[in-house]
């Protein structure tokens, strides 16, 4: 069974890694972010698969942390949006 789970983890990594082509292609930041989002979900799945395959239950906590923060990049994207409150030269007098 561990061999199968490792193989599954490798496949998920391969697939979500292929999705990173979208990070390279874009064209918009939203597209690039979706690739990151997919990899985040995939990363959680990989962590779970490896946790069970290797019997290291502590790895589940990594997936838990990834899941908890999964939406953060998407939220943070709105920070970088032109039109949000920005102050050029802030911190200078």
């Amino acid at each position: 069974m561990p061999e199968f789970l490792y193989a599954a983890a490798a496949l998920v990594l391969l697939l979500t890694g292929l999705g990173l082509m979208r990070m390279l292609w874009g064209p918009s930041p939203a597209d690039r972010l979706m690739a990151a989002q997919l990899l985040g979900t995939g990363g959680g799945a990989i962590a779970l698969l490896i946790a069970i395959a290797s019997g290291t239950m502590a790895i589940i906590d990594i997936a838990l942390t990834l899941a908890l923060l999964a939406a953060f990049a998407a939220v943070a994207l709105t920070l970088g949006e032109p039109g949000t409150k920005t102050r050029a030269g802030e911190g200078e007098q």
Binding site: A8, L15, T16, G19, A30, Q37, A45, I52, L68, A70
Partner: protein, 97 residues
């Protein structure tokens, strides 16, 4: 019994992999950002969901099983919110169809 559970794991995890494949293909092949978002959420919901389901019988204790379920719930919620946010972002930043 364990053979049945193992078979269940193999089948559901494999099904999960298929949805990850679908998500990736969709992300790469679909024509515009909003449809690509659709593909992404499929992987989030079903890909991870099926893998979690498949792993449940393999959990050594009830705590880790509960954690697995909690992770899936969290990813559902985060994924849904993130898709909303990304969709709104796309709406604002791209000229409508």
């Amino acid at each position: 019994m364990s053979v049945v559970l193992d078979a269940f794991t193999v089948i559901t995890v494999t099904a999960g992999l298929v949805f990850f494949l679908a998500g990736t293909v969709g992300l790469l092949r679909f024509p515009d950002a909003l449809t690509r978002l659709h593909a992404l959420t499929k992987a989030d919901n079903l890909g991870l969901g099926l893998i979690v389901l498949g792993l449940l019988p393999q959990c050594p204790d009830i705590t880790s099983a509960l954690k697995l379920i909690a992770i899936w719930v969290l990813v559902q919620f985060a994924g849904a919110s993130a898709s909303q946010l990304i969709a709104q972002f796309v709406r604002r930043n791209e000229p409508g169809p």
